[in-house]
Symmetry: C2
Subunit: 278 residues, 2 copies
């Protein structure tokens, strides 16, 4: 499977620590060698980095890991391809403009043969993930007013996510910079760090960080990932069908919907299984 | 004024040489200190790098200048802000998806108070440049079939460019990855390099390159810039109102339309003048 990483914080925060842990899985400690990408929101703007190279050995990933980019919302993805060739156009996260905002999306799982419904947003590459994103964007644009409140928006997003999860595996991160929507079809975990901050050790590489030295007492920083990234903290594991809407590091809405177990699911989610697209 | 840099080539080509020369103008030999951005097409995908920092001192610009990114089409912009704050959302080039392709746009000049006509594409930042880009995207989507040939497309683009140039200064680079449309309202120059390749020296920095060592006899590489970037080559200066459509390094269509001289033009185009947005 692919790896998702999202961050929601109440103050511009450096994602380097988690990014460093995640990137080791991109052909390093994990099999996800088919490209990676990350989007850092800065106000209404987004810094995007995409690379079809394995991120464990990508010079761009190494450089980005050292950049002092601070963001309140970020979305990162490491790809293990099946559907869609390994190229830049198929590299998550995907981005589109809607209502004067940058919407960014990353997907883990597979919805075999999914085709978006008619709408103005079209996929540029040839992955089911981008088709799913374009379908979300088309449905939101067609069915909601531009001033839709998060509560109204999330209702539509959850309905779509459940629909996709009934057809396959759909773990996702979606943001417009104001909020971060997360949906768990099979696998997702989160952790919220706030004062008193302590140290943490990455699972995938010999790195320890003392968050107390990096933060102020008022900081609230939540990280959402496919699997826990640290070995000495208690992560909150999402249940199947669970969704959470994050804003400024806090869950502002959450819920759970029925999602069926698919016979091919283990192959879709097990790191040791055959590569699946995400 | 801002600085534009575009490249059209018949083989994936490294833009480092020209990029190095241009970036020196971003707060170095030039006054364009208000951010920079570059888009490199790779197939239907695009590598985007944006930074609101002066590119002469930007670590990202230095890093990108050393990356072995090879592209057939690239668009780069260095900003000198007037309209719109200095932030990521206002940093060119701008990008939107249309008909399943990435469309990338960069603008030099100023069209004071321009507001796009109604359409689905909206500006994310607050520059006249992004409003112009969204207007182009809306007009193209609304008035052309998705399979429009470049000849049909260019007719629409030239009409829009002339309309904008009548309201202000509009030098631009626009591409969907297949072609590069260039329009000169006041200032633009190009050079086409082909065998036999020779050496060239940058104007803005002590760098010389021997293109013969970097190319094959079949390569055709054209560079389009606001001002010539080299001191020992003959650049082809665009006339006022002149447009050229580039494909694979060659001009495949060109022409000229009437464009008025604006009283404030010198301020809009002189490097030594008051900052203008672009």
């Amino acid at each position: 499977m692919c790896e998702l990483l999202g961050m929601s914080a109440n103050t511009p925060t450096d994602l380097c620590f988690s990014f460093t842990g995640l990137t080791r899985r991109g052909g390093g400690t994990g099999p996800h060698k088919d490209g990676w990408g990350v989007a850092f929101y800065e106000g209404k703007g987004v810094r995007l980095f995409h690379d079809p190279e394995p991120c464990a050995t990508s010079p761009i990933a190494e450089f980005v890991g050292k950049l002092p980019i601070k963001s309140k919302t970020a979305i990162c993805h490491i790809r293990q391809a099946n559907v869609g060739n390994i190229n830049l156009a198929n590299t998550h996260p995907f981005i589109r403009e809607l209502w004067g905002r940058n919407w960014v999306f990353a997907h883990n799982g597979q919805v075999p043969g999914f085709t978006r419904r008619v709408g103005m947003y079209e996929a540029i590459g040839d992955t089911d993930s981008e088709e799913l994103f374009c379908d979300i964007m088309n449905q939101v644009r067609q069915n909601l007013p531009r001033d839709a409140m998060p509560e109204q928006l999330v209702k539509t997003l959850v309905g779509l996510a459940q629909e996709y999860a009934q057809q396959g595996v759909f773990n996702c991160l979606l943001s417009n910079g104001d909020w971060l929507f997360t949906f768990c079809s099979t696998k997702l975990a989160s952790i919220t760090r706030r004062a008193p901050f302590g140290p943490a050790c990455l699972k995938d590489v010999e790195v320890e960080i003392d968050f107390a030295a990096e933060t102020t007492p008022n900081d609230v920083v939540s990280v959402i990932a496919t699997e826990p990234l640290t070995s000495d903290e208690q992560w909150d594991i999402y249940e199947r069908g669970e969704w959470r809407l994050w804003q400024l590091g806090e869950v502002v809405a959450s819920g759970k919907v029925d999602v069926p177990v698919h016979s091919t699911e283990s192959a879709m989610t097990s790191p040791s299984a055959m590569p699946r697209d995400c």
